[in-house]
Subunit: 386 residues, 2 copies
């Protein structure tokens, strides 16, 4: 399939929704040949929102750069074809990624009979195979009770399907680790991961499980304040919002310099008995710091805030709606080499990302649209003599 | 360093905060020897919250299973030692991961002189090297304006540093892809990725950039409703919260069966002119569906809701605070093989995750604590003759 650091790898994907499809799209954007197999008419995610003119922008995004094959897998003939496709010979082949239930014909044990060095990565909801999705994992993890305004009641879901996306990227990691092992030893293997384990591992790495065990009163809900240091949103004179942070002493000095509020902040430190070079003290004084800073920012338009902050290397950024993002931010346009303006059949033309990974030793893979459902069925059946 | 699918790989990490450290911890949990180098006294993240008894649970979580070396890199002697450590010989060595500024002695061009096949992965804020962190990337991407209650005003940050975590996992993917390339061709390379590109790519894959370009009115803020289908939080009689979803027709039937509300929902469909087997129609009728369902759930305690839902395979899950998670959920305890009760020196003992990836062909790496800062300085200096 041409350019890309993973040129020569071939992955067969049977999947739905986000985690496995994003894992496959990530590898496709690095040059792997990713063949997604769906039932005729498409899987359960074929019409997933957001839509445009009734067609799924979600499906188009999560299947970029793949080949699409439709085969009826309810019957033995179709199952046999897909099993032979998954286990077709070739150095970079014999890799199967799925987040749909596997049993019988598409189990590791059955497929291994057709290709002994098969690498198979199975994404489940829970480790025991029971159902869980991004939303139930997030509910269980505690984040909805610490997200949102301090006076909010009840859980507040974030909209970003973060656990799905992380699981997708980890599935890509898993495939490369198992393929490395195969390259060294000749052996394939089954790799399993679950959405809830990914969420739990991340909560653990962030210290939140330790905090909940060791602290009588773990962290609460603090609105847009960044826990344990200084960071928050502010409103400019022209009604725009900005996120302003001082995570390090250098960034705090920048903020003080840019605003010229050193006298005010020194008085505040004296009055509160705090020393704002310490992150904990910036946290303890966050409300007072924010009050001063909001006064300063409220007197200025976004453009003057930006100029003052950038001159002193303040860590900050404007809030943008998705509309503002695509209208105003060059990072979300073809001015950023991450993107190209790609025409998606039946949808339209819009900036479409390639891989965010830039490999010095390999040509990048130009961003490509998703296939039409079943677009490559004949081609793939012929190519693999099925 | 023993067990693990990546046993034999060695990564030197110069890092702070989340993205690169999580990338390193991910590889360490898979058996790689990850050596994190910090200045004496620690880097800017050594005291990052959450804390316990003044010590960072965050640092302990993000550096699990690594070796820690402290060297003063402000002076030439220290720089030379670290450069030699990064470029030390060995098949699995010569891999450098960083999210701190590189220039001069630790630039790719300089280090490559010491080891021609160096793999170096550099995480930046923006692609052009300018500063951006999870919070500013999130602000720019549009999510804070679609997160939170429908009547919320202004942006609402989610608390989970999702972009950081995704970037960490992608950095792990990048290292394995570049190491594969080196194994095949003998060539090393520089790999770059930026937090903002990762965020933009994910927003693109989810269809949100396409939606913002093509739709006059892209999706708004819908509280805890799951966009374009049915999913929301509900309150049980005993005051617990549950997340309930019907993403597929099968899941919708399960919900109808479990609640015995088929008559009510049929009437509702007739009255509204909707057909709830279609996800779009479940979305259009979400308020009315939720009203019926809330009545049903409000009459039952969590335990009876759970029994009724599980019997019919409804897609649902309880909300839990972090305290409830560690107290009640076996998935967040050593009953889940993901975790072991690990003693973290100076902090205490708590369930500590290993890799969420389970490789059939390799022994798992038992969860390990983070090192004490500088714990392996002498050992590493000796081992690499520095």
């Amino acid at each position: 399939m041409g350019a890309g650091i993973l040129s020569g790898l071939r992955i067969v994907e049977i999947s739905a929704f986000i985690a496995a499809p994003l894992g496959g799209a990530t590898l496709a954007a690095m040059g792997a040949d990713v063949i997604r197999v769906d039932p005729p008419g498409g899987g359960v995610d074929i019409g997933r929102w957001p839509l445009h003119r009734g067609r799924s922008l979600y499906w188009a995004g999560l299947n970029q750069g793949k080949r699409s094959v439709t085969i009826d897998m309810r019957h033995e003939l179709g199952q046999e074809k897909v099993a032979r496709l998954i286990t077709a010979p070739g150095d970079g082949g014999g890799i199967f990624l799925t987040n749909l239930p596997v049993s019988g014909w598409n189990s590791y044990d059955e497929l291994k009979k057709l290709r002994r060095d098969l690498v198979m990565v199975v994404v489940t909801g829970n480790r025991d195979g029971s159902a869980a999705v991004d939303y139930t994992v997030n509910a269980a993890l505690g984040f909805p009770f610490i997200t949102g305004p301090e006076d909010a009641v009840g859980p507040l879901n974030h909209v970003l399907p973060a656990w799905d996306a992380m699981t997708g990227f980890l599935a890509a990691t898993a495939i490369l680790a198992a393929e490395r092992h195969r390259r060294i030893t000749g052996d394939g293997q089954l790799v399993e991961l679950s959405l809830s384990d990914v969420g739990l591992a991340v909560a653990g790495h962030l210290g939140l499980i330790g905090e909940a065990v060791l602290e009588e009163q773990p962290r609460g809900r603090f609105g847009n304040h960044v826990y344990g240091t200084f960071g928050r949103d502010f409103v400019t004179r022209d009604g725009r919002r900005v996120m302003v942070l001082a995570l390090t002493p250098r960034q705090w000095r920048s903020l003080v310099e840019a605003t010229g509020l050193s006298g005010e902040f020194r008085n505040l430190e004296a009055r509160l008995g705090l020393y704002f070079n310490n992150e904990g003290d910036r946290w303890r004084g966050r409300q007072e710091i924010s009050d001063r800073l909001q006064e300063w920012i409220a007197l200025r338009n976004l453009s003057s805030v930006a100029a003052a902050f950038d001159a002193e290397r303040v860590l900050w950024g404007p809030y943008q709606t998705f509309k503002e993002l695509v209208a105003e931010d060059p990072r979300a346009s073809a001015a950023n080499p991450l993107f190209a303006d790609v025409e998606h059949p039946g949808l339209g033309t819009y900036p479409t990302p390639g891989s965010p990974l830039r490999f010095g030793a390999a040509d990048p893979v130009p961003p490509r649209p998703a296939p039409r459902l079943g677009e490559h069925t004949d081609e793939v059946l012929r190519e693999f003599d099925l």
